[in-house]
């Protein structure tokens, strides 16, 4: 019990010493510029944005380095103006990181779009070629059919012509026979008239 109270007393003493020292310190130094903490917040927000962290690590590191330099200067000489300026620079660096990330993202998107446009163009060209081939094939088929039809007609014509010729021959033969018969008949009658 006694030991515990002694420990508490020690702790109390330590805390009050720390507070006393810091109070003394504070009375000598100007208050820490709010801009520095605001810049840290802006930086943290950018860093905690996954896209910024992954796409603009260099710009983020530059922002962080500026902030660390501001902290160093604050610790060393409490130069309020210098720290405020560095804080403003760091804030803009965090903004640059955001902009750089946006730029990288847009670039990636552009690349993707270019690829899909090329794919579409290729598809269109293939489709056109296919269509042209189909058209050519159809024309060929049509030509073949027309040729066949012409050939069929020609054969038919030849057949008809042959038939005609045969008929003519038959007719001629029949005529000749008739003439002969007539001549024979005349020959039979002639002696009587003579």
């Amino acid at each position: 019990m006694n030991k515990v109270t002694r420990q508490y007393l020690l702790l109390y003493l330590m805390i009050s010493t720390v507070i006393g020292i810091s109070l003394v310190g504070c009375s000598h130094t100007p208050p820490r510029p709010a801009e520095l903490d605001q810049a840290w917040t802006a930086y943290a927000e950018a860093r905690d944005t996954p896209q910024v962290a992954s796409r603009a690590p260099v710009a983020l590191r530059e922002a962080e380095e500026t902030l660390l330099r501001a902290e160093q200067i604050w610790d060393k000489d409490q130069d309020v103006k210098e720290v405020q300026n560095l804080a403003a620079v760091a804030r803009q660096r965090a903004e640059i990181a955001r902009a750089a990330a946006a730029q990288k993202q847009a670039e990636a998107e552009l690349e993707e779009l270019t690829a899909s446009r090329d794919r579409l163009l290729l598809e269109a060209r293939t489709r056109e070629a296919q269509r042209a081939q189909e058209q050519a094939e159809r024309a060929q088929r049509e030509a073949d059919q027309a040729y066949k039809q012409v050939r069929a007609t020609t054969t038919q014509n030849a057949q008809l012509e042959q038939e005609l010729a045969t008929t003519k021959e038959e007719l001629a033969a029949r005529e000749a026979a008739a003439r002969e018969a007539a001549a024979k008949a005349q020959a039979k009658h002639r002696p009587r008239t003579r």
Binding site: K81, E82, N85, L86, A88, V89, Q92, R93, E95, I96, A99, A100, A102, Q103, A106, E107, E109, L110, L113, T114, S116, R117, L120, L121, E123, A124, R127
Partner: protein, 128 residues
């Protein structure tokens, strides 16, 4: 005798030091920061920043003008600070403009892709 000599020497040294600081030769850090800022502002002006990040570019130019003014007044620390601000704002203007330019190119490409898709679908439906 020797003490007199040293005093004179010391005085001379002080005079030289005082002169060198009074002559207003700007510190190397300021000079370097000024030229960096100038370069960045010029580069941003040549980029698409005037179109797509005019506010940031304007800020950078104003800050650089402030730096030049401070240089004129021989307020070199102030000049360096303005130059630092001008540099980051010029860089921000350029990066923002680049992002916007790329975004616009992507949007344009997306539109032309849409047109291609429509074209690809139309003859097929017309033929059916």
């Amino acid at each position: 005798m020797t003490s007199k000599k040293t005093v004179i020497q010391l005085l001379l040294l002080c005079g030289v030091l005082g002169l060198s600081s009074c002559a207003g030769k700007p510190p190397a850090a300021t000079v370097s920061q000024m030229s960096q800022a100038e370069l960045a502002v010029q580069q941003a002006s040549k980029s698409k920043a005037p179109d797509y990040a005019s506010l940031e570019l304007y800020t950078a130019r104003e800050q650089f003008a402030g730096a030049q003014e401070a240089m004129h007044q021989k307020e070199y620390t102030q000049a360096r600070r303005w130059a630092e601000r001008a540099l980051v704002n010029a860089q921000l203007a350029e990066t923002k403009a680049e992002a916007e330019q790329t975004r616009r190119a992507a949007a344009e490409l997306r539109q032309s892709i849409e047109a291609l898709r429509r074209e690809a679908e139309q003859p097929a439906s017309a033929r059916r």
